[in-house]
């Protein structure tokens, strides 16, 4: 069986098995077992991918398969992965694996919870392996819809409001995407039958007038889920109401669908409009970067802090993509992965701290380093990743982006790049502020001494994320080369035309 198909069948089987489980114990065992196999599968995929490349197979996508689905409209189930997709799949597997352990103690409707969570992940896997715009969109929606249930049922605070807001805003983005995708479908000069296949569409030309209409639609449509300013406001409310694992998956993986879609659909299919109109979005994304960072500085709720800093970091992803060159785009993918791991770690830790202190307001806590050393050290590591410390993954991504952005020599690009770089200082400010208030200082409350130490499932979740961050941070060459090699296809189109 094709290893990519296995990536969506295994989660499906896991959800099926969970339906027949009886006790919470069984549900946990099945979910964690299934996602562990999924994680191993993703590493096997990486291994096979590298093998194929080493054997000189330089096809654009590997493990390609095509199943005809609705031939009269040119829709077919086309799958295949390049280096970027492999990297994103690996990220997804790590995050869902840790997410299962982070939600170990969910006891309200636990069956339904894990099923929704894994269905969401299935949507994400499907999105990354799709080569057909229609199927890609289908999986995109499959990933977004469970989010509504997950927040609305298992969330906290104003959960109905947050769930509704998040879903509606993302649906608004989807509406633009439908129009954009259909626009591409109908205006591409493909001979004979029309097709949704991205690779085929990529070899054909779309009239520039049409590109000008559909590029903003596709870019904003994907940008909404990538927290593009000013369409980012679902993120703070959504994250703060979502249960831990959902925040992890959402910020860790789902927001990356935005960047991935912008790169592989909007820019790849509409390169000329991208070249022409990049400046508009560069302005918006550089606002995202610095605005998100500055707004974080005054937040007091841990989840809001992370939500706003995600606006800043994901803004940098879109910013890098819009630099339209190989280096910066590679950096964008690295940043997606780095931010995915880091933010999943943040949300996991926030959930763990919340389960003990019953508050997320930093000014109501203090001195956690003394009472919860393990979790606190993990929090510091996540923070240092966020502020781009060498040796952790954030540094690799940010530097690649900045070097790529500096390849443009005009004043406009220089200025926005320097604005983006200045965010590293602001990031340091808010990260150290949180560490200073939350972890350092005297122990705030005597009751803190009775907190349970980190438990085994918490340790599995945090340690896997920390190790991933460290591996990328210490040995970035392998990952960055995999991504760079696949970036050629997208970027070369931009240069030629």
């Amino acid at each position: 069986m094709n290893i990519l198909i296995a990536h969506i069948i295994l989660p499906a089987l896991t959800t099926l098995a969970i339906m027949f489980a009886r006790t919470q114990k069984q549900v946990r065992a099945i979910a964690s077992g299934g996602m562990s196999i999924q994680l191993i599968l993703s590493f096997v995929l990486l291994y096979f991918f590298l093998q194929e490349r080493a054997n000189g197979n330089d096809a654009v996508v590997l493990f390609a398969q095509s199943y005809s689905w609705y031939p009269s409209l040119g829709i077919s189930f086309d799958i295949g992965v390049d280096g970027i997709a492999v990297a994103m799949i690996l990220l997804t597997s790590i995050v869902i694996f840790t997410g299962i352990f982070a939600s170990w103690e969910v006891d309200k409707l636990y069956k339904e919870f894990f099923i929704s969570l894994i269905v969401l992940a299935t949507g994400v896997y499907g999105f990354f392996i799709s080569l057909d715009l229609f199927i890609l969109f289908l999986f995109f929606e499959l990933a977004v819809i469970p989010m509504y249930l997950l927040i609305g049922i298992w969330g906290s605070g104003a959960k109905e409001y947050a769930a509704m807001k998040l879903t509606l805003m993302l649906m608004g983005g989807s509406a633009l995407l439908v129009v954009g995708i259909l626009g591409v479908y109908f205006t591409s000069d493909v001979e004979g039958a029309r097709t949704f296949n991205i690779l085929v569409l990529g070899q054909h030309h779309i009239p520039i007038e049409m590109q000008r209409i559909f590029f903003p639609m596709l870019f904003i449509g994907f940008g909404v889920i990538g927290a593009l300013f000013p369409f980012h406001t679902w993120s703070p409310d959504g994250h703060s109401s979502a249960p831990t694992a959902v925040s992890m998956l959402h910020a860790g993986v789902l927001m990356k669908l935005g960047g991935y879609g912008c790169l592989k659909v909007a820019i790849f299919l509409l390169p000329e409009a991208a070249n022409e109109m990049a400046w508009i979005f560069i302005i918006l994304t550089s606002i995202s970067v610095i605005y998100g960072a500055l707004a974080t500085v005054v937040q007091t709720d841990l989840k809001y802090i992370n939500a706003y800093s995600s606006v800043s970091h994901c803004g940098l992803v879109l910013f890098a993509i819009l630099m339209l060159n190989k280096t910066a785009s590679t950096g964008a993918v690295l940043q997606m992965i780095s931010h995915g791991l880091m933010t999943a770690l943040f949300f996991a830790l926030i959930g763990m701290l919340y389960s003990r202190t019953k508050t997320r307001i930093i000014t109501e806590m203090g001195g956690l380093m003394k009472v919860l050393p393990f979790l606190s050290v993990c929090y510091v590591i996540a923070g240092l990743t966020s502020l781009g410390l060498p040796g952790l993954s954030g540094f690799v991504a940010e530097m690649t982006i900045f070097v790529g952005a500096f390849e443009h020599n005009d004043i406009f690009h220089r200025v926005v790049t320097i604005i983006a770089i200045s965010s590293i200082v602001v990031t340091a400010v808010y990260i150290l502020r949180v560490i200073g208030i939350l972890l350092m200082g005297p122990v705030r409350n005597e009751a803190y001494h009775d907190f349970p130490k980190a438990r085994w499932f918490e340790k599995i979740a945090t340690t896997s994320l920390v190790v991933s961050i460290l591996i990328i941070g210490l040995m970035p060459l392998l990952l960055s080369d995999i991504i760079r090699d696949s970036m050629g296809m997208i970027v070369d189109k931009l240069v030629l035309k």
Binding site: P230, A295, T400, L432, G441, P476
Partner: protein, 631 residues
């Protein structure tokens, strides 16, 4: 014999960091200290071996001992991790490992009764690793990476007593101020790499192979000048040059051995090292940038020396003295030329860096010994300690004489070289430098007389001499302070690799010694016995004195900018704007949609009567209007 073994100099402290970091709580407390000390001890031995091997071999070439690609950006640019050996990096290896080893040994005594012993040694090892990686960097980006790592280990060590709020604030301040400076450094690196297509020092420091367009200018300076100024901004941040110096005095909240290692001898001279590393570039392409460097150096050295005269916290006095001495080094680099006699400043600067590491580390360890005994940092609560701590007293005196520039101690030689270099190029700066020499002698002996002589205080318990494990490193450093001045430094280190014969410039030497002696004399007059002379003096200066004690209000300005402007006037309104404008707009869309549908939902109520009523009314209206219209 090759130099492959040099990689272990860097790796060993890293291993110690990992072992201590992962093994914390599992290792017996004592062991962690010994693991770290053993690792740095072997590194020290290997560094000496390297120095011996390198300086005895005839060529002063740059040697790449190890190099591997770490991250590729594009076809030309990539970050390497490697080891570059040349005179200055080998010299720095010796300095760093020596001072580290002394501090590691000393810490075993000093930190004996503190909690978090293993954490302390793990961070200390991380620092040594980062600092060693910084000096042997083969390229700008590797240097930047280790530069950041040095910054974070400094942050972690300043914040060692993390349950004290002032400590938290100080560590945060240190990191953020240097981070701000590093932003400049990073932009500078990107600009240089964009123009040259490389990060590599080997290529960058051969200026004949490079070409920069000096035609494109921005605000009167060429691109490369701007780039090098931004790089200097990074250096100024780490080296606590005005106006980025504000973090260093606060950094004294960290444990005293940490201050000795990081905030006196090694990390804070990284900025000097950075300029020295890129000196050929500065000299060949950006003389204006060098002018700025010299100005900042000269200003800082005087500024900090004046403040040092008015402080009462023993560690802060030493911190300002460090800032002042680094100002000397920066000044010397700024006035130096490239090659030949004109390059005396370059050699002098690094010579002073070398000797300063010994005597400043000694001063801090001595201060640590005093604080260890009397449990306070305030010199007004000390006095008459020469009776209680005879060894510390002698060692501290040696250090004071050295920093004051009294022959034949090391400080005399290196300071003399700096003064000579400044005199030949810039008489005004020379005046400042000589004045600072006098001030230095004054504030150091002010400290010395108050602490060791003067009226004995009533201590809670009689201050005791420190144990041997703390004394031995101090004695070794004192030997370094006394004798390193006789090293013919110019033979080994010069800007262009050609030996530079140094000789004492007698007129300069005599004038600086006269200034130093008079500084000591004034201090003796003021502080040897309790006298009102110093208070009268302070009164005479009036507001000038007050502003000096308040460190010229620079901290307050920073707080105004960060808290008042950025926090209150930018971040808060932005957060408000986000919630109440952007988000509110999205909510408005939703509520308006809701409202509209509320309005029109009656059309589809499902009530047959209503539909019938509307239908018939509609028909009636149409019929009637037709009737009236056609009439």
């Amino acid at each position: 014999m090759g130099y492959q073994y040099t990689i272990w100099i860097v790796i060993l402290p890293f291993l110690a960091f990992v072992i201590n970091g992962l093994g914390s709580e599992k290792l017996p407390t004592k062991i962690s200290g010994w693991i770290a000390t053993l690792a740095i001890g072997i590194s020290t031995f290997l560094s000496y071996e390297t120095a011996f091997q390198y300086f005895t071999s005839p060529s002063g070439e740059k040697i790449i001992a190890f190099k591997t690609i770490w991250l590729r950006f594009n076809d030309t640019l990539h970050i390497d991790i490697g080891i570059l050996l040349d005179p200055i990096s080998v010299m720095m290896l010796v300095v760093i490992t020596t001072v580290s080893l002394m501090v590691f040994i000393y810490s075993q005594g000093y930190m004996k009764n503190e909690g978090g012993y293993d954490r302390y040694f793990s961070f200390l090892s991380l620092f040594s690793f980062s600092m060693l990686g910084l000096v042997v960097a083969t390229n700008l980006f590797q240097m930047y990476m280790f530069w950041e790592l040095v910054g974070i280990s400094s942050y972690l060590l300043i914040g060692f007593y993390y349950d004290k709020p002032s400590v938290v604030a100080a560590s945060k301040k240190a990191f953020i101020v240097t981070r701000f400076a590093d932003m400049g450094f990073l932009i500078g690196i990107l600009m240089i790499s964009y123009s040259t297509g490389t990060f590599d020092f080997e290529i960058l420091t051969k200026p004949e192979g490079l070409s920069f367009s000096t035609t494109s200018t921005f605000l009167g300076f060429s691109t490369i000048t701007w780039a090098l100024l931004l790089v200097f901004m990074g250096g100024a941040g780490k080296s606590a040059m005005f106006p980025l110096h504000i973090w260093l005095p606060d950094a004294m909240e960290g444990p005293t051995p940490v201050s000795a290692l990081i905030h006196a001898a090694t990390m804070v001279v990284a900025g000097v090292f950075l300029i020295a590393r890129l000196f050929p570039l500065y000299s060949a392409f950006a003389p204006h940038a060098l002018g700025v460097v010299a100005f900042i150096g000269a200003f800082t050295t005087l500024f900090a020396a004046v403040i040092a005269c008015t402080q009462f916290d023993i560690k802060r006095i030493l911190a300002f003295s460090t800032i002042s001495q680094i100002g000397y080094m920066v000044l010397a680099l700024g006035v130096s030329g490239y090659g030949g006699e004109a390059a005396l400043g370059y050699t002098a600067s690094l010579f002073h860096l070398f000797t300063h590491a010994f005597f400043k580390a000694l001063l801090f360890l001595g201060a640590g010994a005093i604080i260890h005994a009397v449990h306070t940092n305030d010199i007004r609560e000390m006095g008459g300690l020469s009776k209680h701590q005879p060894f510390t007293h002698i060692l501290f005196l040696i250090a004071c004489l050295t920093i004051a520039g009294i022959p034949p101690f090391a400080g005399f030689f290196s300071k003399d070289e700096i003064l000579a270099a400044v005199l030949t190029t810039h008489p005004i700066y020379f005046g400042i430098a000589v004045l600072v020499a006098g001030l230095t002698a004054f504030y150091m002996f002010r400290l010395y007389f108050i602490v060791f002589w003067g009226k004995a205080r009533n201590y809670d318990h009689s201050p005791h001499e420190v144990p041997a494990i703390m004394l031995i490193p101090m004695i070794l450093l004192a030997l370094g302070s006394m004798f390193t001045g006789f090293i013919p430094f110019g033979q080994f280190i010069s800007s262009d690799g050609q030996p530079l014969v140094g000789h004492i410039n007698w007129p300069v030497a005599i004038s600086s010694v006269v200034f130093a002696l008079s500084g000591i004399g004034v201090a003796w007059k003021f502080y040897m016995k309790e006298s009102s002379a110093s208070d009268n003096m302070a009164k005479a200066f009036g507001s000038m004195y007050t502003s000096a004690t308040k460190k010229f209000y620079i901290d307050e300005i920073y707080i105004l900018v960060t808290k008042g402007v950025i926090f209150q006037m930018i971040s808060k309104p932005l957060a408000w704007f986000d919630r109440n404008v952007i988000d509110a707009f999205m909510n408005l869309l939703a509520t308006k949609t809701n409202w509209t549908s509320m309005q029109i939902k009656e059309f589809q109520s499902g009530q047959l009567q209503k539909y019938a009523f509307i239908f018939i009314s509609g028909v009636l209206i149409i019929v009637l209007s037709f009737i009236y219209a056609t009439r």
